[in-house]
């Protein structure tokens, strides 16, 4: 059998000419599909917000969740700082900021859990009304994405600890960062349409 | 060869257009036109059919001609003369279809607007659908029926809804349908233009009785006098259990000779009066019949499905109506 070498650089030359890293492109495409998935759920929420009266939405705790939103946005800043660190070869900075990202993400989830429990206490549940169904499904799927993100942050942290990333090659961190920012942006949209308007 | 080409194109074009016109004038694929909008729809359809004939003959003709004329000559393994494109031709076959589309779109819009224009003093009919029958309620006339009677020439304003799943109210001779969606009322305007009796069909899959849903109803377009007579007759019969049997939709699922009902989704009711006493041990006939109407899940006749018969007859019927129905069925 013939055996030969094809280097990675050769394989993805076309991508490099377009300044596209295939792993990042793959992530962008995945995120595009995720945007459409949330779009379907957001459309559902907005449709029912407009057509079915929901007096129970007065129980939403805008202040608490507003603070929670700030926490999630801050966690995105942590990712930016972490990426900036590793670009300059600062491995310790990356570790710190990844840790903070995961921590803030977990705090966000805690805050969401508190809001959910509080609403349940007021009789607003997944099955109590159309509002309840669409609220908890939409924010629930978002929370699931945050949870996956926190796990991913920790996995990335683990890889960073083992020295997998350098100033020259940290595509994995960038890919994680893209995902985390997406989760954050989706939340900003959700917070706006659920709590603010 | 090149000098003949424009002549060939002209001849072919004329032949195609002639074929198209002929098709548009002579090919009728539709059932009878029984509404004013049907006439408009059919004109649009025939025009489009003529156009479709032209396009179809053109493309298939070119295809067939090419297959016959341009077959590889035996032994010729070479390539053909390369032609990568022709800007003018590509523009032509983009612009002409675009223009055709604009014309069809505009014409369709005109037909639509004309079909849905409100006229004064329409006759209002509430179309109430449920699994698996139609009920037509005339609020102004104060009658309800499983048949849709309409006076000729007067616009009917249908207000269509469903009590359970989505159905679709379709009268092919009217050329229009509208979905019956639970929780919503859809309006449909039709002006009947031809005397006669026409089928009404359910056009949205609604369960096991979907195909048989239209069997129990028909559309009757009659003169205003005949329509008035029918209203009065129906009003007189409104307490009658046979009428109730049909307007409540029992005929959608059950067979009962006395009511002319031929439904097959549920058990046949001929002879129910004889069987009722011995169907459920310990239950006398009247109790069995009443229970099977208001709590149908208590005893499901073998061979038939549970969860199909509506469970709300206790709410829908007044006590006297329920008793009248039980008495009626006891006598069958």
């Amino acid at each position: 059998m013939t055996s030969h070498s094809i280097t990675h650089e050769d394989e993805f030359r076309a991508g490099r000419e377009l300044s596209l890293d295939h792993r990042k492109l793959g992530m962008w495409l995945f995120l595009a599909s995720e945007v459409m998935f949330f779009g379907g759920l957001i459309g559902t929420f907005l449709h029912y917000k407009a057509t079915v009266p929901s007096p129970e939405s007065a129980e939403l705790d805008t202040v608490l969740v507003g603070i929670n939103t700030f926490i999630l946005v801050t966690s995105s800043l942590m990712v930016v700082l972490g990426l900036d660190s590793i670009r300059r070869g600062n491995r310790r900075g990356l570790l710190t900021y990844l840790g903070l990202t995961a921590l803030l993400g977990a705090v966000f989830l805690g805050g969401q859990g508190y809001e959910f429990v509080s609403l349940y206490g007021h009789g607003i549940t997944l099955t109590s009304s159309v509002f309840g169904s669409s609220f908890f499904t939409l924010t629930g799927f978002h929370g699931l994405h945050v949870l996956i993100g926190v796990a991913w942050a920790l996995l990335t942290l683990g890889k960073a600890l083992r020295g997998k990333y350098s100033a020259e090659d940290h595509v994995g961190v960038e890919a994680f960062g893209l995902y985390w920012h997406f989760v954050d942006i989706v939340w900003i949209v959700l917070f706006t349409i659920i709590y603010l308007i | 060869m090149k000098e003949r080409t424009p002549l060939v194109i002209v001849h072919v074009t004329v032949a195609l257009l002639a074929a198209g016109f002929w098709v548009a004038q002579n090919v009728n694929l539709m059932p009878a036109e029984a509404s004013t909008r049907a006439a408009l729809v059919d004109q649009l359809f025939r025009a489009m059919l003529g156009l479709a004939a032209v396009i179809f003959l053109l493309v298939e003709g070119l295809l067939l001609y090419s297959v016959l004329r341009f077959r590889r000559p035996r032994g010729d393994e070479g390539d053909a003369v390369p032609v990568h494109g022709n800007r003018a031709l590509e523009i032509v076959w983009t612009v002409i279809p675009a223009l055709i589309v604009v014309v069809i779109g505009f014409y369709s819009f005109r037909v639509l607007a004309a079909s849905e224009t409100r006229e004064a003093d329409p006759i209002v009919v509430n179309v109430n659908s449920r699994q698996f029958s139609w009920s037509f309620e005339y609020p102004a006339e104060g009658v309800t029926s499983t048949d849709l009677h309409l006076p000729l020439g007067r616009q009917a304003r249908f207000l269509i809804t469903s009590a359970d799943v989505i159905h679709s109210f379709w009268v092919p001779e009217f050329r229009v349908k509208r979905d019956a969606t639970p929780g919503q009322i859809a309006e449909l305007l039709v002006t009947p233009s031809r005397l006669g009796t026409y089928p009404v069909r359910c056009a949205e899959l609604c369960g096991v009785g979907h195909a048989s849903m239209g069997l129990t109803s028909q559309v009757v377009v009659e003169s205003p006098d005949d329509f008035q007579r029918w209203v009065e007759q129906t009003r007189a019969l409104s307490g009658d259990p046979v009428t109730a049997f049909n307007t409540l939709g029992c005929n959608g699922c059950h067979t009962l000779a006395a009511a002319g009902a031929i439904g097959v989704v549920g058990p046949a009711l001929d002879g129910i009066g004889q069987r009722a006493a011995s169907t459920v041990p310990g239950q006398d006939a009247a109790t069995y019949i009443r229970t099977s109407m208001v709590k149908p899940g208590d005893h499901v006749v073998p061979g038939f499905a549970d969860n199909v018969m509506p469970r709300d007859f206790a709410q829908r019927l007044a006590t006297e109506q329920l008793q009248a129905m039980v008495d009626f069925l006891m006598a069958q």
Binding site: Y48 | D76, W93, V101
Partner: protein, 541 residues
């Protein structure tokens, strides 16, 4: 960067096809065979349906069983046959056509196939617990109340959509980042272009269906009130979520088939494709326009009457890029030196039958006509002309064309022609009468019908049985030729796209030397200047 050395695995060739492989060629073939199996399953269901419909009041099949048959016939054919067979072709061909070694994400690729298998089995398993019976369109509230199989159906479709999206992430990334030297976008084969256009739709539209299915599943499993009318739920919401995907889905199902026949016409006419760029652009145009038309399935729903018109317009506009393709194909074969081998026959049949499907699509776009024929056999006829006369013919054309490359053998031409004739006659016989039945008043999804439609239904059933029979020469041909057909050689069709510049079948790494491209994929008739760097055939591969 370390270089990767690719050594062949010491596993008997046939065994690789039953296990986890990251080779796109193995995965592609796994897709092709698996989806063809489901084609036969869906076809068997069709056979039962058409047998039931031989008589207007037949009791062969109960109403309940009939609703389950029609629901699963549609679902199996769309989700488990057409979508995966075209994805399988894409999988096999894209790296070869662009001169790459494999897909960008080989393990993701394997995963997307291995998601397909259990999902398909799950859909079939639903028959054990009461199969879905609300139509492949699963309108609510009917589907929320249905038997347990409806939940399995919903889960199955979600998984299949996920598999589909994974595939498209691979296709787009591979096309953008792995084209070989000299393969500019304007030198890419049209099949690859069509897979690019298709993938845009997959990634944009599928997730919306997923969202809708999640809502149905939650209503069924957890008791949410999304489609509970008494709580304020809106059945029309489901229709919007469903059709937002399911309309683009039909373009997902036809664009690759169109791409395949765009490959076949130049080869079998020995002429360049006429209007290459316009065909590429038209694929993109159909793709993007296809995202804007979904509510033309809802003209009778009671939706705001004013909103219907923009959808009519956008739907009719799609006829324009479609026409561009058809005329470009005609201009390609015009003046050519036509070789009427089986792939070419199926490609010609595609134009002939897709034309009918496409024209009747414009009829359906015209709102006044749609209000009459929506949800009737007119639609059933239209959809089968585009999907069977179109996509399936295109798939057959592709399979006959690329079979030698995939297997290294030639298919028997006489059997191929018999298959084509039976397929062409069967398709027309089965579906032309249905147009008439719909116009005259026969609704869809009916277990029994008005006796006035009897002759039309009997003709249709006859055509369907002919179609069923037509599969036999194909199956026989494929199996026997694989074992003992004549060897194909590298390039039996003397085509110019890159997949033909390597052996049949290709080695695991596709090309011994990464090809360098200096001319377009359809430059027939040109003097051979700077043709592709020849790759030496590996002996006995």
């Amino acid at each position: 960067m370390t270089s990767e050395s690719i050594a062949a695995k010491p596993v008997p060739a046939w065994r690789r096809y039953f296990g986890w492989s990251t080779d796109h060629k193995v995965i592609g073939l796994q897709y092709l065979v698996t989806s063809f199996f489901f084609f036969l399953v869906g076809g068997a269901m069709a056979g039962m349906i058409r047998t039931q419909l031989l008589a207007p009041d037949s009791t062969l099949v109960s109403a309940e069983a009939y609703n389950r048959l029609t629901t699963n016939h549609g679902s199996v054919m769309l989700f488990l046959w057409i979508l995966p067979v075209l994805a399988g072709l894409g999988n096999y061909l894209i790296p070869l056509q662009i001169g790459a070694r494999d897909m960008a994400f080989p393990r993701l690729n394997a995963l997307s196939f291995w998601l397909l298998v259990p999902s398909g089995l799950l859909m079939l398993a639903s028959f054990f617990v009461g199969a879905a019976e609300a139509g492949w369109t699963a309108y609510v509230p009917l589907s929320v109340a249905g038997p347990d199989g409806q939940t399995l159906w919903a889960i199955s479709v979600v998984l299949l959509g996920t598999s589909s999206m994974m595939g498209s992430i691979n296709f787009v990334t591979t096309i953008f980042t792995m084209r070989t030297a000299g393969m500019t976008f304007w030198r890419m084969p049209l099949f690859t272009w069509s897979m690019l256009a298709t993938s845009i739709l997959v990634l944009t539209a599928t997730p919306v269906l997923t969202a809708g299915l999640v809502l149905i599943a939650m209503d069924r499993l957890v008791g949410t009130l999304f489609f509970s009318v008494s709580a304020g739920g809106d059945p029309i919401l489901w229709q919007n979520l469903f059709w937002f995907y399911s309309h683009p889905a039909v373009y997902i199902m036809v664009l690759p088939a169109m791409g395949a026949i765009s490959e076949i016409f130049p080869v079998f006419s020995r002429k360049p494709v006429f209007g290459y760029k316009m065909i590429a652009f038209s694929s993109l145009a159909i793709s993007l326009l296809g995202l804007t038309v979904w509510a033309h399935h809802m003209f009778t729903s009671g939706m705001d009457p004013r909103l219907r018109v923009p959808y009519m317009i956008s739907t009719m506009i799609i006829a324009v890029p479609t026409g561009v393709k058809i005329f470009s194909w005609l201009a390609t074969i015009w003046g050519g030196k036509l070789r009427l081998d089986t792939p070419m026959l199926f490609a010609l049949g595609f134009i002939s039958m897709f034309l009918i499907g496409g024209i009747t699509g414009v009829f359906l776009a015209a709102i006044p006509i749609d209000l009459h024929v929506h949800d009737t056999y007119f639609v059933v006829a239209h959809l089968h002309f585009v999907l069977f006369g179109g996509s399936v013919s295109g798939a057959y054309a592709a399979l006959y064309y690329w079979y030698p490359k995939i297997t290294g053998r030639r298919l028997d031409e006489r059997l191929g022609k018999v298959h084509f004739a039976a397929n062409f006659i069967g398709t027309n016989l089965a579906y032309l009468p249905m147009f008439l039945a719909g116009l005259l008043g026969m609704p869809r999804r009916v277990v029994n019908y008005d006796p006035r439609f009897t002759e039309l239904n009997q003709l249709a059933s006859l055509g369907a049985f002919l179609l069923a029979a037509s599969v036999l020469p194909f199956l026989y041909n494929v199996i026997v030729s694989w074992v003992s057909g004549p060897k194909a050689g590298d390039n039996p069709w003397q085509a110019k796209t890159l997949e033909w510049k390597t052996t049949s079948p290709p080695p695991a790494h596709n090309f011994d030397m990464p090809p360098v491209v200096t001319e377009g994929p359809y430059d027939y008739g040109e003097a051979a200047q700077g043709s592709l760097t020849p790759s030496p055939s590996a002996a006995g591969d």
